[in-house]
Structure formats: structure tokens, C-alpha cells
């Protein structure tokens, strides 16, 4: 089905609720619906299996318009359909929850509630997700009248409402984990309810790393924002900048030269290899396989060398500028890249053999945390986590952007859905990246590196979706024709993948939790965290390290493996 037909299908499905239709871009359809019709409209799309929910963006149209908007973005292939619900600012703008139809929407709705003050009717959990616990109630940071430098009271010791100490309710124990999880992109705080050894419930608190980037973006100009968005994540900084650049170039109607697009794909491929090797090491560490951790991080330095050689920096490469890229790839670079890739390809093949044959590792990965295809679709999983469960969800294939038309990649899909499949998917993706990168280096299109960008970006709204190492990254950018963006909304892949941890941890052994978190949320960057665990019989405090060792011991005893 081509884009045209997909669009027509969506328009037909939404016809009964349609109050106004807009076509902001060729592949987009905006439908204005009333908040009463929203639930039915979402049901119509969901029942017809039209696409999946990408994100919910909240917009404040300013004091003059005096209304708020909630934008529900659904995507199928490269087509994005947006349901726009307009609501007056006061009394509280209200929308019905759609989490009963689409479970992962609960995170988006909680964000909508606390950032813009939408009253989401029927929201199961309206506790704070991103903002600090003592943030004044009824102050909504993404509203136009909130100024980022306005004084907000500082959190006082002891005001955290989430339980910090292990607590006992009846026969079950609540085990808090985190937030000294420097490992996660969003240092999460988990609360596992355990009955003996088995996890019976999970809650999560994010927001320890919430800095307020989206608000800050509104007061910085288009160029300054490029460097701000690179710093959303240190592991996948290039892809954030790429998504932002693509959106702004789209708004300004600037055509990026082919050579620059190819170099962008080259850097994002290298970034993917570095990110996956990093994750492989951390996952191996959680399984007690430190040798693999050290080896994979040693090999990761090969990619870091290539990146440093190309861009001059190891982590925030700043390869992108608005309208193109900053540096060229010459023959000398091409030679070092290919040498590095040859070495890495050999190593990745070796790791692939290790993770599929090593008996100790397989006990921690095979059949653990299995997510079926239906579940993956229901939870709205993205990226390698979804692909390990047989769902082809890869923007590079579904909706190719930039140079992916010229240098396509093949999506790697595994069907087992367990931790082993997630390891295999990521390792195989590195092999695909190695292959594609060689093709790019050999066939770099000639031409300019940058196109001229205007200082002011024409008014409009755009959506850019790219494939980050962890899954689909979604940017919504709104310009009102000035030097600053009016609104930038980011939906990172990790936010969607959290559902899998929360749903899947239930019923698993406590010993599996470190691996489950490592395996399901791939954004890990550090290896040691602090965890307090109290078991029912012996009241004792455990560190994360002890929990990890306990996990290793547990499996050793279970399989009667001798110390040797």
C-alpha cells in the first residue's frame, strides 16, 4: 500500500469524528476531533489496526488563543495521522484516557497531565512522572506563561513521596531499587513488590534526570538548540541532533546535499555499533560475565577511535549542522574506517558465537523475560526490543529518511522474544551496520557538505522520526516564524520500552531482575548501582552488587554447576 492509500484509509476511518482536516505535509494528516469523540476515534484506528501510537504532544497556543491542544500521533510506515483535541485553558482542559485501548499511552498521558495540566479523565496513575515531588501543584512547566527562570522551591530532605526504605505490607515486601541507577538514561526508581522470591508488582518513578530541556529550547535560537538536543543523551547524541536537524530543514524547505546525508548515516551507523557494544558489555556484567564486559568495551574503543578521528570528539561528536554536516570523509578516513570495521566484524561474529553457545550465559538469557509478538505490539515496544519479538519496527525500513533511500539496510528480526533474542538482534544489527558502512564509505556521493539555512525558520509544524540505537525517536517541532522554536517535543524510545519491564517483571524471580532491566531497557551506561533489598525472613540490606552476585549464585545452584 502506498502512502496515498494509507492516508485515504485513515481519513475514511476518522470521517465520522472529523471536524476539520488539515494536510500539513504530504505524508501527514491532521484531524481535529472533539474530546468526546477522541476515545471512539482512537478505537476506530486501533480496531482497523491502522498504525501505532507514536506520542502525545501537548501544546499551549498562548494566552491570546486561550486554548490547549493535545496531539495524538499515530504512524503507519511513513504516514503520520494526528488527532488534534482542542480544549479551553480554564476550567481544566480535559481529555479522556486512551490507556484502556493502548496501554503504553499511560506514560504519555501522565506527561500531558503534569507538563500542561490536562485533566486526563480515567487516568489510572496520576502521580508525578518527571517533575520533582515538591514541585508546586498546578504549576505546569510547558504552559506558555511558565518562565523557566521563575523561582520554584527546592526539594527538602525527606520530602520524596516514593518509598525509599523497604516496607512490609501483609506477607509481601516492597523492594525499592534505584535511583542510584546511573546506568539508565533516565535514572529510574523502581518499586518491586515481592512475595518470597517472586516479583508480584512493579512501580516506577522517573524524573531524576529531568532537566527541562524542552522548556529551555523555547528560549534558545535554532542553532543553540542543536547543541542542547545533542545533550539529551550522551550515548545517542548524533541521532538526536539528526532528528532535530531533519525537522528544522523540513520546516525551512532546505534540501540537504546527498553527501551530507550519507555522512549522517555513516556517523549514525558508527554510533549504533558503539551503543550496542556498550550495551552488550553491561548486559554481560549483569549476568556475571565480566570477561565479556571487558572484551566488548575494549573493542568499543575501535569505534571510539574512528569517531574521534572523524569528528574530533569521542562522545558528543557534533557532526551535524543545520543544513548539512561539519566535516568531510577523505580517503585516509575511509581507510581507517574500513580497517576498524574489518576488525569489529570479526569480533562481533565471535560474540555472536559466545552468546548463543556459552552455557552459563544461556541459563541467564534463554527463555527469560519472554515477550510474545502479540504482547510486543500491545505494549507498543520499539527498536531492538520489539524486533527480538518478531515485530518489524524499524524506521530505517518502514519510513526511510535521509540517505537510507540510497543505502538501505535490512531489518533484523528474531522470533524467540527472550533475552537471548535481544542479544542476538543487537549483535546481528552490528554486522548489518558494518556491511552498510563499507558500502557508504566506498560510494560516497560527491557534492557540497552544507546547504544555506535561513536565520528565521518559517512558521509551521513538523514531525521527524528516526531510528536511534534503542528504537524510534520522535521529534515534534513547531515554529512561529521567529529565531526560536515555539515548541519541541521529544519522545525517546526508552519511554515506550519501560512498559515491557513493568509488565514482564511480574512472576519472575528476584534474581532475574538485574538481567531483565539490563535486557529490556537498553540504555545503560554505568555498571554499579545501589539497591536495598530486604527478604522476608532475614531483615538485611543488600547492595546492587550483592543482588547481582545472588543472581549468579542462584543459577549456579539451580543447575548444579560446580565452582570450576
Amino acid at each position: 500500500m502506498n502512502d496515498e492509500q494509507t492516508l485515504q484509509q485513515a481519513e475514511k476511518l476518522l470521517a465520522p469524528f472529523n471536524k476539520e482536516t488539515l494536510h500539513p505535509e504530504t505524508h501527514r494528516l491532521d484531524v481535529v476531533v472533539t474530546s468526546e469523540d477522541l476515545h471512539a476515534a482512537v478505537t476506530a484506528l486501533h480496531d482497523a489496526k491502522w498504525g501505532y501510537l507514536c506520542a502525545i504532544t501537548g501544546l499551549d497556543n498562548g494566552p491570546e488563543a486561550n486554548n490547549l491542544e493535545a496531539l495524538y500521533h499515530f504512524a503507519q510506515d511513513s504516514v503520520v495521522t494526528t488527532l488534534r483535541v482542542r480544549a479551553p485553558r480554564s476550567p481544566a482542559a480535559s481529555v479522556p484516557t486512551i490507556a484502556d485501548i493502548i496501554p503504553p499511552a499511560v506514560f504519555f498521558e501522565r506527561e500531558l497531565h503534569e507538563m500542561l495540566g490536562f485533566d486526563v479523565k480515567g487516568l489510572s496513575d496520576s502521580s508525578r512522572l518527571f517533575l520533582p515531588d515538591d514541585f508546586p501543584p498546578e504549576v505546569y512547566p510547558m504552559r506558555a506563561d511558565f518562565k523557566q527562570d521563575q523561582p520554584v522551591p527546592v526539594i527538602e530532605v525527606g520530602s520524596e513521596t516514593f518509598p525509599n526504605e523497604p516496607t512490609k505490607i501483609g506477607n509481601t515486601f516492597i523492594v525499592p531499587i534505584g535511583p542510584q541507577h546511573p546506568a539508565l538514561k533516565e535514572p529510574g526508581h523502581f518499586e518491586f513488590t515481592v512475595d518470597g522470591e517472586v516479583v508480584t508488582g512493579v512501580r516506577m518513578r522517573l524524573g531524576y534526570a529531568h532537566r527541562g530541556i524542552e522548556k529551555a529550547a523555547e528560549s534558545r535560537n535554532w542553532i543553540q538548540n542543536l547543541y542542547l538536543f545533542e545533550r539529551v543523551c550522551g550515548i545517542c547524541s548524533h541521532i538526536h541532533a539528526t532528528a532535530y536537524c531533519m525537522g528544522v530543514e523540513n520546516l525551512a524547505h532546505v534540501e540537504v546535499p546527498a553527501r551530507a546525508q550519507a555522512i549522517r548515516e555513516l556517523v549514525s551507523g558508527l554510533e549504533r555499533i558503539h551503543s550496542h557494544l556498550l550495551w552488550l558489555g553491561v548486559a554481560a556484567h549483569e549476568a556475571g560475565f565480566d570477561t565479556l564486559f571487558m572484551y566488548s568495551w575494549r573493542d568499543r574503543e575501535t569505534v571510539m577511535n574512528i569517531l574521534e578521528n572523524l569528528t574530533g570528539n569521542r562522545v558528543h561528536y557534533s557532526a551535524n549542522v543545520l543544513g548539512g554536516v561539519k566535516f568531510d570523509v577523505d580517503l585516509e578516513h575511509a581507510r581507517t574506517i574500513k580497517e576498524g570495521l574489518d576488525y569489529l566484524e570479526g569480533r562481533v561474529r565471535h560474540y555472536l558465537e559466545v552468546v548463543t553457545t556459552d552455557a552459563m550465559l544461556l541459563q541467564r538469557t534463554r527463555g527469560i523475560g519472554t515477550i510474545t509478538r502479540a504482547e510486543a505490539e500491545r505494549y507498543g515496544l520499539l527498536g531492538p526490543t520489539a524486533r527480538a519479538s518478531g515485530v518489524i519496527r524499524d524506521i530505517r525500513v518502514e519510513a526511510p529518511y535521509g540517505a537510507y533511500h540510497r543505502f538501505p539496510i535490512s531489518a533484523i528480526v528474531e522470533t524467540a522474544g527472550d533475552l537471548e533474542a535481544r542479544l542476538v538482534v543487537r549483535l546481528k544489527e552490528m554486522l548489518v551496520s558494518c556491511f552498510t558502512l563499507r558500502t557508504i564509505v566506498d560510494n560516497l556521493p560527491a557534492g557540497e557538505l552544507t546547504a544555506r539555512m535561513p536565520r528565521k525558520v518559517p512558521a509551521g509544524e513538523t514531525i521527524s522520526r528516526v531510528e536511534a540505537p534503542r528504537g524510534e525517536l520522535f521529534y515534534f517541532i513547531k515554529s512561529n516564524g521567529t529565531e526560536n522554536p515555539a515548541r519541541v517535543h521529544i519522545r525517546t524510545p526508552s519511554l515506550c520500552n519501560w512498559t515491557s519491564v513493568l509488565e514482564k517483571a511480574v512472576g519472575h524471580q528476584l534474581a532475574d531482575i538485574p538481567m531483565m532491566i539490563a535486557g529490556m531497557d537498553p540504555c545503560f551506561s554505568c555498571n554499579d548501582r545501589l539497591v536495598t533489598v530486604v527478604r522476608p525472613n532475614e531483615s538485611r540490606t543488600w547492595t546492587w552488587r550483592e543482588l547481582r552476585e545472588y543472581g549468579i549464585e542462584h543459577y549456579r545452584d539451580l543447575k548444579n554447576i560446580s565452582e570450576a
Binding site: V154, I155, A183, A209, K215, A216, C523
Partner: protein, 172 residues
């Protein structure tokens, strides 16, 4: 008679202190805390532990518990929600304790300066002994910062936090 006892007591204390200092300087244990950084510094800190940079050759080891740690390696601009945790981790560490702030945003707020949910640096919350600038600093710079701390402690020239150590950019 009394004087002699006092003297041996002092000597004994002195020897004990020397042994303590010697062992501490040769096996400095660290804990890492992310107070809302972008992860760039955190992966570079982790890289210093892995084979290429191998900070363990100086006796430095990353520990999971603040109660085992001598140095707190902190990153990030300190978000409001993380502030209390940072304080708590710092308070749980046994004295003497040293704080190393890694990355530009842990020094001044960096790219996140002015964001409504950040406080603008580790030193806004706890005293910092070593500042390592860079966005993110290279692993060599992180190693250099810790070695400068060790050297200052060994030679007795340690004056932080009144006059903290700042890793210069010409570390190469």
C-alpha cells in the same frame, strides 16, 4: 612515667595514621552518582575502568555502596529530584571523603544552565575537591584528575575544597 605513656600513645597513633593513609592512597574506592547528566560523562567514566584506560592499576575501583567509598565521582547539573539523593549518598560516605565533579554541567550547569529543574552544579550542594571540565572530559582527563588528587594527598599539598584542584585542558 606519665609523659612516656603519652609519647608512645602518640607514636602508636602516628604509625596507625601512616598505615591508614598508605592503604587509602593505594586503594582509593569510588562511587559514581549521576545527578541528571546526559550519560556522556558516565560512559567515559566507565571507559576509564575498562582495559584501554584501566584505572584499576592505580588501585581505584568502582563500588556499589557509598559506605565503602572514598571518592564520589559525580556528574550532571543536579536536578531538583536528584539533589536529595546526592546529599544522602555524600552523607553516607565515611570520612575522609573526596568529591570529583566530572563534566562541564557538573561544574556550572553547562548546556543546561538556566533550565528550571537544575541547580547548576555539584558544588551548589556538596563541597567539591576536583573539577574535571569537558563535555564530556576524555578518559585521560578523568584519570589525570584523580591522579592529581592522589598526588596532592601524598605530598600533603591538598588544599581542597577551599582551593580545589582543576584539571587544565593542556593535560595531553
Amino acid at each position: 612515667m606519665e609523659k612516656i605513656i603519652v609519647k608512645t600513645d602518640q607514636m602508636w597513633k602516628q604509625v596507625l595514621n601512616q598505615v591508614q593513609d598508605w592503604s587509602r592512597l593505594n586503594s582509593l574506592w569510588a562511587i559514581h552518582f549521576n545527578s541528571g547528566s546526559c550519560n556522556g560523562c558516565d560512559i567515559e567514566i566507565l571507559a576509564t575502568l575498562t582495559p584501554r584506560y584501566d584505572v584499576e592499576r592505580f588501585g581505584i575501583k568502582l563500588k556499589g555502596s557509598p559506605r565503602h567509598a572514598d571518592i564520589l565521582i559525580a556528574t550532571g547539573p543536579v536536578t531538583r529530584q536528584a539533589r536529595e539523593r546526592l546529599l544522602r549518598v555524600y552523607e553516607q560516605m565515611p570520612a575522609p571523603k573526596f568529591v570529583v565533579a566530572v563534566g562541564t554541567c557538573s561544574i556550572s550547569g553547562g548546556a543546561f544552565l538556566g533550565c528550571y529543574n537544575t541547580l547548576g552544579g555539584i558544588d551548589q550542594v556538596i563541597p567539591v575537591d576536583v573539577f574535571i571540565p569537558g563535555c564530556p572530559p576524555r578518559p585521560e582527563a578523568i584519570v589525570d584528575g584523580i591522579i592529581q588528587l592522589l598526588t596532592a594527598l601524598k605530598t600533603g599539598t591538598f588544599t581542597a575544597p577551599q582551593k580545589p584542584i582543576v584539571v587544565q585542558e593542556n593535560w595531553l
